[in-house]
């Protein structure tokens, strides 16, 4: 913890020498000291891999970010960054751990959504049949904690390519573990609109998996015990935007996150994937 704080202080002082990276005029460019707020209205869903976990209907999505001279806020991430070269950028970032979003109705971005449950709708996911009786409902277990992570992110920017690596550490003394992500993304423009394709690989430590998906002796006695293991989770992301005017665009995205055995072995987990999709119209307020 103390090393992270030391690093934060170092970055805060050296960031004054930062030189902004060159950026082509596209959606990934931002002007310093300008607040951006986009709202998208449409429909989509994020699935919930937990037994009795509510799927998250996506209706109104915010996209909010501000990059100041020395710090930035971007969709829940607060950080400071340092340009190492024209193509490399190092950032120190803090954000709430996203894992709790599957367990709690009003958490992070979920607060913007109108939730309802499909638990009693009669709809049964095909993958649910394989789970068997050794399952635990999210409603039976104790409350999962809210954690805050500090991360060190390294970005490389090519003309249309982007590589990213980020390592996170729990600094709230909650799950006392780490997680990390490496990813590559490409964007291109065609007459059909602007496309983004990305692939990521997430690693989550045993302590993180155990805190959120483990079943220990504090849980009801009739549930199977489960001790978390490190988890590897590959993810694919496809995004599309078709600008209609300077402020209005049609937008869609599809994300697929695969969950490995470390997750699916947990009695809490129902499926081996999380899918997120959305289709709507976005409006740039400012």
């Amino acid at each position: 913890m103390r090393y992270w704080l030391l690093l934060l202080c170092l970055l805060s002082t050296t960031v004054k020498a930062e030189a902004a990276l060159p950026c082509a005029q596209d959606d990934n460019c931002v002007t310093e000291q300008k607040l951006y707020l986009n709202l998208a209205l449409g429909y989509g869903q994020r699935s919930n891999p937990l037994h009795d976990g509510d799927e998250l209907p996506l209706v109104l999505l915010p996209d909010i970010y501000y990059y100041g001279k020395h710090w930035f806020f971007d969709n829940g991430k607060l950080g400071t960054s340092l340009a190492l070269t024209n193509k490399w950028q190092l950032s120190l970032i803090g954000q709430f751990n996203q894992e709790k979003g599957f367990f709690q109705k009003w958490f992070g971005g979920n607060a913007f959504q109108f939730r309802h449950s499909f638990a009693n709708s009669g709809f049964i996911d095909e993958t649910e049949k394989d789970v068997g009786p050794l399952q635990a409902s999210v409603r039976e277990i104790s409350k999962r904690p809210t954690a805050y992570d500090l991360g060190l992110q390294l970005d490389w920017f090519g003309e249309n390519w982007r590589l990213q690596g980020v390592v996170w550490q729990d600094v709230s003394n909650t799950y006392q573990g780490q997680h990390a992500t490496i990813g590559a993304g490409r964007s291109w423009q065609t007459v059909t609109g602007n496309w983004q394709l990305g692939a990521r690989l997430h690693w989550k430590s045993a302590k993180l998996i155990d805190t959120y998906y483990g079943i220990d002796n504090n849980e009801p006695f009739y549930l199977d015990r489960y001790q978390g293991k490190p988890s590897w989770q590959p993810e694919l992301r496809l995004g599309w935007q078709y600008p209609l005017s300077e402020r209005v665009a049609v937008l869609a995205f599809l994300r697929y996150l695969h969950l490995d055995d470390a997750m699916t072995d947990s009695p809490l987990v129902r499926t081996d994937h999380v899918t997120t999709w959305f289709f709507g119209v976005s409006y740039r307020l400012f």
């Binding site: 950026c23 310093e32 950028q89 950032s91 992070g108 995004g239 995205f253 997120t276």
Partner: protein
């Protein structure tokens, strides 16, 4: 010191003969500078802009920056103009008495600190 003298000497040679170089048409001009570099994005450029135009026939012309008239000449074969002006990305035009565009040059403003790159994916709150 020697460098300073060299600069002055070059200036002295260049100033009295501002005719446009490589002028192969009946009407042409030199505009300087055409690109201005500012510290920040969206900052206006304030600098001394100078131009010289040359024609094989006498013309009545006016100089415009975007739609703002800056100067006019009556039945002249050449003209020189300079002033300190403020501009963002715009165009400089020389027009005849019927407002037809005879010459046009884009004036560009580049910033030393171009836009930052965004470090998160759009719509990444979920």
């Amino acid at each position: 010191m020697q460098g300073l003298w060299l600069l002055l000497a070059l200036n002295g040679i260049a100033a009295p003969n501002p005719l446009p170089a490589n002028c192969n048409t009946s009407l042409c001009w030199d505009v300087s500078p055409q690109i201005c570099v500012t510290e920040q994005q969206n900052q206006s450029c304030q600098t001394r802009l100078q131009l010289h135009w040359y024609s094989q026939t006498a013309l009545s012309t006016c100089l415009y920056m975007a739609e703002e008239k800056l100067h006019c000449w009556q039945q002249a074969e050449q003209g020189h103009w300079q002033n300190i002006v403020s501009w963002q990305n715009t165009e400089l035009t020389l027009r005849d008495s019927d407002n037809r565009i005879l010459l046009k040059t884009d004036l560009q403003v580049l910033s030393r600190k171009p836009a930052q790159r965004r470090l998160s994916s759009p719509w990444s709150i979920f």
